[in-house]
Amino acid sequence: MASDVIIIGAGLNGLVAANYLAKAGKRVLVLERRAVAGGQAVTEAFGSGFRLDVLHAGGQLRPDIVSDLGLDVPASRSEPLISVLPGGGQLRLTADSDDRTLASIGSVSKRDAERWPGFVAFMSEASGFLDAAYRTPMPRLPNVSFSEGLPLAKLAMNLRQLGPRDMFRVIRALPMSALELTEEWFESDAVRAAIGAVAVHGATLGPMSAGTGYTLMHNWLNRGGLGHRRVEGGVGRIADALVAALKARGGEVRLSADVKRIILDDQTVRGVRLANGEEIAASTVMSAADPRHTLLTLVGAPELPPEFVWAAQSIKMRGSVAKVHLLTDGNHGLPAGTLIVAPSVRYVERAYDAAKYGQVSQQPYLEITADGAVVSLHYQFAPYALRERDWGQERAVLERSAVDTAAAAFPQLRSSIREIKSLTPLDLERTYGLTEGDLNHGQLILDQMFFMRPMPGWSTHKTPIDGLFLCGSGVHGGGGISGAAGRNAAKVVLKA
């Protein structure tokens, strides 16, 4: 039976889009290149069989998506963010301002502890605004129709209802640097650095870069605070829930179905061609792959207008995250929580400086999470595009400085290591299909947000190819594994 809609990629956004369409009665076929669904939200086994959340140590779908789709998602809990300070100190931060958090902050600065609840309130207001913005479709400017303009006007009213003071605080904070923002609240460098680290998590930016106010809000929204939201049984279970729900709605997911080409007939979609040569017809194709790959590889530049091709080429991807996973004997000595090595703002900024010049940071900002005997090191910054070396040479350097940095904070760790599995940005591209290893399918920078995501003029999920829609992280709502982009795109397709 022919499908109404083919969706390329069974990541969370692809699966969320599929569910919304299936719920509306469409026949949906999801094609996944890998043998496992989930995209970035996968729990996989490596080496001797150790299982872990490969790319994201936690995550959550937007709660409204969970309820819209009636999903049976596993429980998740928010972890505290623990910043490891030189000399063995720790700074424990949570978004609920509990006594332990306030005491911990108080140990570095009394004044900062007093200001913490106010900061948390501001951040929830700001991320709340961002949540609303991610739900609001971003029409093409400047000729916005009344029906498109209404949700925007609503969003503007939401903002105005915050009152002038908070409204301006939110507006000002978006283009600010995390340092500037935190300087307005806190005096302690350690507190500023911990927040700055969350702000640059996944981004190729430093805490002194303009626009990290925005990425802070974004990450705060997706995490529901500072620490990770750990999923019971692994993040892969979110994907499992989505696949199950899709099947129940009559949709289909085909694994190991590698789409090589979107078939066109004069700028109109006719279907897709798989790596094995099989062609599947459909008049609507949604791609949850990143926009650069979708447009320049699956469609192909020769089929697209030159200025559009240039804009697609100009999407800033430049991932600089690497992962170093360790199987230990269990005696790694790590406390529970989302641990970070980001002792000072300058430390994190210097780690970022290396990425600017195509080098792997020798003193990286690390995020360390442990699940039983498995320890995961999230490593920043390790740029996809190395200047003088290549990733074949640099893997050993990456693994060494990852372990050295982590072991400096947790000395027991080194001797507990049994196996190492590292993922360079190049691996993220090759294995997980993330162009330039960018987890967000396009950097979360000011000129790639809202109306300009993925490209100026194309924030509507549409493309110059009739019947082809974008629904991955690289479009509005996206960045992270929240499913917002998939939902937004599905709504557009249902209206089309």
Partner: protein, 401 residues
Amino acid sequence: MLSTLELKVTPFHERTSRLSVAQNWRRWAGYRVVGSYDLSLDHEYWAIRDRAALIDVSPLMKYVIEGPDAARLLHRLTPRDIDRMTVGQVAYTGWCDEEGKLIDDGTISRLGPQHFRLTAAEPSLRWLSMNAVGMDVRITELTDQVAALSLQGPKSRAVLNRVCKDKLDGLKYFRWMNTSVGNVPISVSRTGYTGDLGFELWMEADQALPVWDALMTAGDDYGITPCGILAMDMARVEAGLFMLDVDYTAAPHAWIEGQKSSPLEMGLDWAVNLDKKGYFVGRRALEREKREGSAWRMVGIEVEWEGLERLFAEVGLPPQIPSMAVRESRPIMCDGKQVGYASTSTWSPVLKKYIALAHVQRPYYEVGTSVLMEVTVEHHRKYAPAKVVKLPFYEPAWKKK
């Protein structure tokens, strides 16, 4: 030192500068070229129409496009159906942006199955490269390396037959061939910018002078005349040929949308193959325009001489017309309102008419419509009666024979 501050000179400069009596130089694409050799244009103009005029057109931008996707690139770049072009053929084409507005125009010569030469008025390397993303094709600019001469006029073939190794009698309109002059290999295309019988000769820049000399010697019996670009400007208006940034604004140069022109508006319907397969830049916009009709068109305007005479007679003067093509905007009126403007106007010595290329709004662009063109009569604005006519104004029987 600081040679970049000087204008470039063409490979023929040694000859052209010595022949130039008027020292009337013009800037063309960063080069210094002869505007007119003589103090008046008559002699040069009539060489085009009656004898053989030799024009240095080296500043034309020249690109060679080669590789497996060469045809595919040009197919995508232009509205012409490149698949239908055979080796040896030359095609005139404009090319557009995605909104279907003209960026530039020039000729494509198919040199081989995977080998083309493109001429353009403006530097186009960037636009070509932007269009070649994802294609297996090599684009080389040869503007400075390749010299170009245009030999135009009824006697041009006879002159060439004398100097070229091969006879050119078989070379049809908009075809090209390889031959040589002396021991200099050249390629000759039967093309030009005058609307007369004519040829364009392409050769390596460092072998350009012998070709010039051979032509001048052999052409002497036929009255060959070096001709500047001002006389050519008159001839091209008679031929209904337009010029970038004079008769249309290249889309990238336009400050506002209204300044842009589509090939359909410019009357290039015959060079827009909407029936061809596949994507090309501007396709959808052009399809839409074809469906909905163009808002205005480039047309010929012929001023009625008696009416013009009357306007001048009112102040006691005989008609006064500039003796060369004038690139200045003149309003075209109808029913008491402005319905367009002339972008270039000229006295046509062969037709004995005052003619103009004009942008005219629908429905006034229909052939035969009576309009008025603004003229200045003794410092006062007046309106001369005129008619919309079919282009070209002048097309001699021998042009395509």
